[in-house]
Symmetry: C2
Subunit: 227 residues, 2 copies
C-alpha cells in the first residue's frame, strides 16, 4: 500500500465524469488519490466533494501547492476540507512564521494531514530550489508535518531527506512513470509512497495498470532490500 | 489609476454574493480587481465567470500564487482564462525551464498577462525567500513578464526591484492597509499599482473607501515627488 494515484484529467474531457470513472475503476487497491488545482478550480468544492464521495481511499490528498501567507492557506484548506480531502500539500519555501506554522494549526484543528514540498525536479528547480534544498528541509524538520514531498527522479534527494528528517515524516514521491522514475525507485531510496499519474490514468485498463505498478514496486523493493 | 482591489470574502459570507456586491459598489474607479484561490475554489470557474461579468475593470487578476511545473500552471491558467481573468500571478521560485517559460508561452497564447511574485513580507519570508531575493529578481528579469509582485511593506525591495528590472516590468504591491503600508508608500518607492484589500472591502462604505485611498495615494505621491 505505497501507491497514490494522481487524478489529473487530460484536456478536452469532462473533468468530473473522468475523475469519478477513474476512481471507480482503480478501486481500493491504491493507498490514496491525489487531486490537483486544475481539477479543483474546474469543478469547485461542490464538484470535488461529489468526486471524492466515491473514493474508498484512506489518503485523499489535495495537491494545492499552497504558497501564500498563513491566513490565505488556511482559508483554502478550510474550503478544501469540506470536500473529504484529508491531506493538503504546501511549499516549504514560504517559511514558518506567518505561513506554514499557521497552516499547520489549521490542519491540526481540521484533522487534515499537512504535507510540505521540499524539492521539485523540473530543470527550473535547479535555479532557486536546489541550491537552498537543505534550508527547505530545515523548514520541514522544524515544522514536523505529517509528510513531505521529494521527487522520485532524484533518489539522492530522497536519501538526504530521509536522513535529515528522520523516520517521523512520511515522504511522498511524484515523478514515477511519465517523468522518468520507475515504480519502486523512490521506495528503495527511502520514500513511503509513490505518486503515479499518467502511467495509470492514461492506461487502457487503469485497474490492470494499478496492479502492474504495485507488482513492479514489490519486485523492485525486494531486489533493493536484498542487495 | 494605480489601485487594485483585492476581493477576499471573509469567513461566513456567501462568497459569490459578497464579491458581486463589492464589485458593483466600487464601480470603475479602481484600475483593477484581484481574486484569490479561496474564492476561486469555493465558486469554481463557472461562479468566477459570473462574478467577473459585472467587473468593468481593465485588470482582472487571478492571484493563484502558481508554483508548479509548467504543464500544471498552464492547465490552471487555461481554466482561469475562461472566467474573464486577464492576468495571473505565479511564483518566481519555481524557476524558468519546465515552469515559468512554459507558463509565459501559455499566457501569451491566451492573451493573459503574467505577473511573477518576487518577494513576500510575512516573517517566514526571511527564512528562504529574502536571502535569495536577488536570484528571484533574476528569474523575473530574464523572463520579462508583464508584471511582478513586491511587498508595499518593504519599500527598499521595491526600489531594488525597480532598479534591477528596469521600466518594462510593472510592479504590483500588496500589503497596503491591514498589513501596515500606507496608500502611496509603494508608489513612491517605484511601484505601478497598489493592491488594497480589507481597508476597502471591510469598510462600511467601500465606494467611499476607494475614493479616500485614491486621494491618499495622490497626496502621498505629490509629497514624495516634491521632496
Amino acid at each position: 500500500m505505497s501507491l497514490i494515484v494522481a487524478l489529473d484529467p487530460p484536456r478536452g474531457v469532462d473533468p468530473f465524469k473522468w475523475s469519478v470513472n477513474l476512481i471507480e475503476s482503480i478501486g481500493n487497491k491504491p493507498a490514496g488519490v491525489k487531486v490537483g488545482i486544475p481539477l479543483t478550480v474546474r469543478v469547485g468544492v461542490e464538484g470535488l466533494k461529489d468526486i471524492l464521495s466515491v473514493s474508498p481511499h484512506k489518503l485523499r490528498i489535495a495537491d494545492m501547492k499552497l504558497a501564500d501567507i498563513g491566513y490565505v492557506m488556511s482559508l483554502i484548506t478550510e474550503a478544501i476540507a469540506e470536500t473529504g480531502v484529508n491531506a493538503v500539500i504546501a511549499h516549504a519555501f514560504v517559511g514558518r512564521e506567518g505561513a506554514l506554522e499557521n497552516l499547520k494549526r489549521t490542519c491540526d484543528e481540521l484533522g487534515v494531514k499537512l504535507v510540505v514540498l521540499g524539492l521539485m525536479s523540473h530543470p527550473g528547480a535547479s535555479e532557486i530550489m536546489r541550491p537552498v534544498f537543505r534550508n527547505l528541509l530545515g523548514v520541514i524538520k522544524d515544522l514536523k508535518p505529517w509528510g513531505s514531498v521529494l521527487p522520485a527522479t532524484m533518489p539522492e534527494a530522497i536519501r538526504e531527506g530521509r536522513e535529515f528528517l528522520g523516520k517521523d515524516v512520511k515522504i511522498l514521491s511524484p515523478g514515477v512513470g511519465a517523468q522518468g522514475a520507475s515504480p519502486g525507485d523512490a521506495l528503495c531510496a527511502g520514500a513511503d509512497y509513490e505518486i503515479v499519474g499518467r502511467l495509470i490514468t492514461r492506461a487502457e485498463d487503469p485497474s490492470l495498470a494499478v496492479e502492474e505498478v504495485i507488482k513492479a514496486q514489490r519486485e523492485r523493493v525486494e531486489a533493493c532490500l536484498g542487495s
